[in-house]
Symmetry: C2
DNA sequence: TACTTTTATGTAAGCGTTTCCTCTCTCTTA
DNA sequence: TAAGAGAGAGGAAACGCTTACATAAAAGTA
């Protein structure tokens, strides 16, 4: 019993050579309409599907791209990864998912694995990758394959970036709070990533630009989680800093902060206004619902794929795409 | 300039045949220790990595498995998919991610694509697949590859299942509420899936078993979302049904319900107790925090992969694994 | 009409592995 | 000492495709 139909079977049935079958398969010219039709009939009759593996072997690459993420459990990354995969499938590619967990060794192992699999491109989600990639990408074994970096930039010939304008996101927050009459605004940084750093400095700049008070007691640090939010509010209250609004680096941290502030007797938004970041599902479940910044992560995913596509088609393209976040105003401000 | 090192290069440097290199690569016997060592040195020296594609061609399959999900944007699925991918990588496989969006055509297209890619197994997350798969899997083109179904069962030779005991999950909810003194318990079904159906009937059974009132006004329907939760609470209040507790099919729906009840002047949990389902990040952000059921989705992911692995190794194995959910008691009850 | 060009098709090599088969050499054993 | 067994290694085919090259027929050109 024959396991799988191959191109020879089709050639035999259609009474042509395998070269011809291959030509119709790949929509090459130089095939007469009648022959083309004959071949297509044979394909249909046999229900033939070309083996992506065999094709990959001769072409030295497959229509596959690797998606490297630290952890798609995080809602933003999940949204991005999902959008990417959809778009990839739509244009005939498929996606190998890699959750590196942020470890450098894993990262390298994954990259290695991806090139062995013959991926034609790699997309990285998240700014954590900057560290690893910076050095790794210089290695010759990766230099031939294009990288699209979502959320970070690296000066290497084979990298392209899609970034979010965090500066603008923070600016929207600060200006919104100012409009609402707040002047004593705090910022909570909850991640040691490049993106976290950029948001923090954007906060500084905007506060300075608008002549709002800014010093070493207006920025607090914690870790991204509900508990991290609770902890930082404790710090804030203990510090005795004067404040009427807090911007958090992420919704989940904001949710924890909100929780703690309410427990401490503050009314939100009357006593203190709160803004989260990332517009995650949780932000809507808070009471009051969180004002937050939507990072358009799905759009970033789509754009990343489209960028990669134009690179793969060897078309002229820009190396950097910037998307603009939006403020989602809800009850907490 | 040579693009990539191949097995011939290694053979040449080690002064052996490619057959021998292949044997050490695959840890076959019949290689003398000295030869093995020579080859390993050559591999290290050249930094050689065998091509997964070429290997795939001769083996007719790659160390790749497809993960079919409707939408990994949903926190549970993301958690499962993430756990699966981690475990797969750990045992040397990689994962092709597929977000079908629930459409039957997509589903078939994805399956087709996966077999063309030579995956050695497919894991499906979610009970939606039952419909499509039931018929599709009978097709001979899929019969040779093993399927692991997370969340559903299908009577086909090449399928294996990992399911969650929803019955038990619901039982925990009802008994917990009964302990708290509730008798008038409502159930909100928010998904037309097999799993949704099972939870609903489990609710019926448990209410009956415990002699609690159950009729056509104790079960309500809506769609899974914050808004769906708001809408169903409106329905419930309009129906005039007597109730002191509500179990929702999902946290996000519960969050919407909670929101609506508070707006309507109910105190939670004093006036009415609420239980969600799935232990999603959002459940912790609600005020009061939601009591919910943890589906152990990461464990399900791990088990799915392990099940697949034993199948691939042709070892004897059970066709069905059941995991037991846990009640997470928080403030809303 | 005789030529060049274009179009349609076939032949066969090659992509990088694995593995079956063969061969040689050494070690047993009668 | 000769035959047989077993271990270690190599030769070469096979996996299913693409494509450079070759060839033949058709079409265009003068």
């Amino acid at each position: 019993m024959k396991m799988k139909i191959n191109i020879y079977d089709v050639a035999r049935i259609a009474n042509v050579s395998t070269a011809t079958v291959s030509r119709v398969l790949n929509n090459k010219s130089n095939v007469s309409p009648e022959t083309r039709h004959k071949v297509q009939e044979a394909i249909k009759k046999l229900n033939y599907r070309p083996s992506a593996i065999a094709r990959g072997l001769v072409l030295k690459h497959t229509k596959t791209v690797g998606i490297l993420a630290t952890d798609i459990t995080s809602p933003n990354y999940a949204r991005t990864a999902c959008a990417m995969e959809r778009e990839l499938f739509h244009i005939g590619y498929n996606a190998i998912l890699c959750n590196t967990g942020g470890s450098i060794e894993n990262n390298k192992a994954y990259l290695q694995m991806l090139v062995n699999q013959g991926v034609c491109g790699i997309i990285c989600i998240g700014s954590v990758f900057k560290n690893t990639l910076q050095e790794t990408l210089m290695l010759s074994e990766f230099s031939h394959i294009p990288f699209v970096l979502s959320h970070c930039q690296i000066p290497a010939d084979n990298t392209y970036s899609v970034v979010i304008n965090e500066k603008h996101g923070i600016r929207l927050c600060v200006e919104h709070l100012l409009e609402k009459g707040h002047r004593d605004i705090l910022y909570v940084k909850d991640a040691d990533t490049y993106s976290g750093e950029r948001k923090k400095s954007a906060f500084r700049e905007n506060m300075a630009r608008l002549d709002l008070p800014i010093n070493d007691k207006t920025i607090f640090n914690t870790y991204r989680s509900f508990e991290g939010g609770i902890a930082v509010v404790k710090d804030i209250l203990a510090s005795g800093t004067k404040f009427s609004a807090i911007i958090f680096g992420d919704d989940i941290t904001a949710a924890g902060g909100l929780f703690a502030l309410k427990k401490a007797g503050y009314k939100i938004p009357e006593d203190v206004a709160i803004i989260g970041y990332n517009n995650s599902p949780a932000s809507i479940c808070c009471d009051p619902q969180l004002t937050t910044v939507d990072n358009k992560t799905d759009i970033m995913g789509n754009l990343s794929v489209k960028l990669l596509q134009t690179v793969l088609e060897k078309k002229e393209t820009t190396r950097l795409l910037t998307v603009t976040p939006e403020l989602v105003i809800r009850e907490s401000t």
